[in-house]
Amino acid sequence: MEVFQYVLRKLLAGIPLVLGVTLISFVLIVYFGPDKTYELLGKNPTADEIAEIRSQLGYDQPFVTRYMDYLREIVTLDFGSSESTDEKVSSILARTVPTSIALAIPGFVLGNLLGVVLALVAAYYRGFWVDKFIMGFAAVGMSISFLIAIIGFQILFSSSDGLDLLPVRGWDMSTPLQYIRYVTVPTLATVFVALGYNTRFYRAVIVEEMTRDHVRTARAFGVPPVQLFYRNILKNSMIPIVTRIMFSIPVIVISGSLLLESYFGIPGVGKVTYDAIVTGDQPILKAVVVLTAVLFVIAQLLADICYRVVDPRVSLK
């Protein structure tokens, strides 16, 4: 019951955020967005034809009315149809979201898991060559552009100048093998770049935890290093780590996939979004914006619940 109330309160507190996001994107994408009037008209339109089209598109309505229309679309979860393909926005999302998730998950999981492991190793051997090597590797990962990493791995695995093992671009999830063949190069690029940032961040968190008084207490009671790490350091480090992971979810699903999907031609949300940006397909853009904002609210909620699980000092009130 307490948890339910808490979740409800958190979701209500997310409303101003969603309103803000939609307002800003409405102003930028719709109100000042591309004017479709002339695309839909023939040559040399008359003033009446222009007015009619504008009225059809709703351009003659006042700002508030149009924004309220958008909000109504959000509440009813009905964003209409794509302007370029006429497919329902909801069915487009239903088709593409699973693809994006399938694309993002391996990189996301490996990037964080390996990041934590490398950070633990580096922190444990703080100051020694192992640490320096790992952190040097992280610095390289941080300094390489995602795009360069993508191209680099593509050359290495998919071109005739490299190993020529994997498909150059495209997507196929029909069999697990095909999935692995297509997901490997994007995943490697993601992991390589994400590891740079993650390892650095996680190491900083862990090192900070290592210098806490209670770690010294544990040592003073004879706790061996492995247990010290596992019990006294890792669990306490989970709060900043969990926060980072949670808040990277919305970013990865939309922005991270956008580059990967448009580069490799993978039919996910990112690709759809990118195409919508290029063609000015407003219904899709409006839906994607809301989707992201809602994901952020959910991420916030999940992060809070994780705090509660990890840290007894945090109460749900």
């Binding site: 008084d213 003073a220 009671f221 000092r313």
Partner: protein
């Protein structure tokens, strides 16, 4: 004291601890020697930076390294030298033979585990108890240190307890394996005066009950007077005076000890207009003067004090050792 090495529980000889810093090597502890016998309480007294905490940490091999390291000396405990002992050996001793409690009760316990779990951990490791046994021992210990309703409190998280209660939990944890020596680093400094009185009382009572020795590290001469039998006064990493409590307070021999005792305001005395002071300030450990570190602030300084620092020597016909060329009579 130093001569009765045979029956000493712990004897420290010429301990030197150094820290690597940006500006060179800092000698935090410089040639410290003392003994402690079973059941005895030794006060390690001095102002901040005098090396008393580092000395305490050395007893358990806990000097943070890097940047710190024990450069030389020995710490004999139960026939073995803790300085040359490896980490595995030290882990066996920590918390079971020698325990330590710290100044900050707020941060010394892990905030994300219940106190019972933290106590069980220690008991299961050192005493090889089952979980159930360890749990009941933990409750027993909590009751011993005066925590009301220990069976309920054992499932609390540290943040649910007050500072005084947390320090009691630390003490319960430290004593749970029946150590022979307790190193208490400013255990009551962070506590209020009424809580301090409660906790000190408890510690002294338990010490008698368990028959263990204690090293009490503190800056508070009042606390030393009330709890210790022996005292070591440190200044700039060195021992300046080592004696029994009675002798120390009745006739301090080193000018620093005498100055320190004179300069504390007291509740009992008639109000003085001006407190006697030790002029000047503690020198920078990285730029210690050549001779006696206290020379600059000393009223009886002689030329030779500035050339070579005096060794700690037993005064004739007393039980007091002092490192001064011109000790008080």
């Amino acid at each position: 004291m130093a001569s009765t090495e045979n029956n000493a529980l712990l004897s420290v000889r010429d301990l030197v601890v150094e820290f690597e810093t940006d500006q060179g090597v800092l000698r935090a502890v410089d040639g410290v020697s003392f003994d402690i016998h079973p059941g005895e309480t030794l006060g390690l007294v001095g102002e901040s930076g005098c090396g008393k905490t580092v000395t305490g940490l050395s007893m358990l091999g806990l000097v943070p390294s890097p940047p710190g390291r024990i450069a030389s000396g020995s710490i004999m405990f139960d026939g073995s030298d803790l300085v040359s002992m490896d980490e595995t050996g030290l882990r066996e001793i920590r918390g079971s033979q020698i325990s330590m409690i710290f100044q900050e009760p707020m941060t010394a316990l892990n905030p994300v585990f219940r106190i019972g779990s933290q106590m069980r951990d220690v008991l299961q490791r050192h005493q090889k108890l089952t979980r159930r046994q360890a749990h009941s021992t933990a409750i027993e210990m909590l009751a011993k240190v005066g925590i009301p309703e220990p069976a309920g409190r054992v499932d609390d998280y540290p943040h649910q307890l007050s500072g005084g209660m947390r320090q009691r939990v630390m003490i319960a944890m430290a004593l749970s394996c029946g150590p022979k020596l307790l190193v208490a680093d400013e255990p009551t400094t962070a506590l209020d005066v009424t809580t301090q009185a409660q906790v000190l009382e408890q510690v002294v009572r338990l010490q008698k009950e368990f028959g263990m020795a204690m090293i009490l590290i503190t800056h508070d001469l009042g606390v030393v007077a009330e709890t210790c039998q022996q005292a070591v006064v440190m200044y700039c990493g060195r021992i300046v005076e080592r004696s029994s409590i009675e002798a120390l307070f009745a006739s301090p021999r080193h000018p620093y000890t005498a100055g320190l005792l004179a300069s504390i305001p007291r509740v009992t005395d008639e109000r003085q207009e001006v407190l006697p002071v030790i002029p000047g300030m503690v020198p920078d450990l990285l730029h210690l003067p050549q001779g006696c570190a206290f020379a600059e602030r000393c009223s009886r300084v002689r030329d030779r004090c500035r050339q070579k620092s005096p060794r700690l020597e037993l005064l004739q016909s007393t039980q007091t050792s002092v490192a001064c060329y011109e000790p008080n009579a």
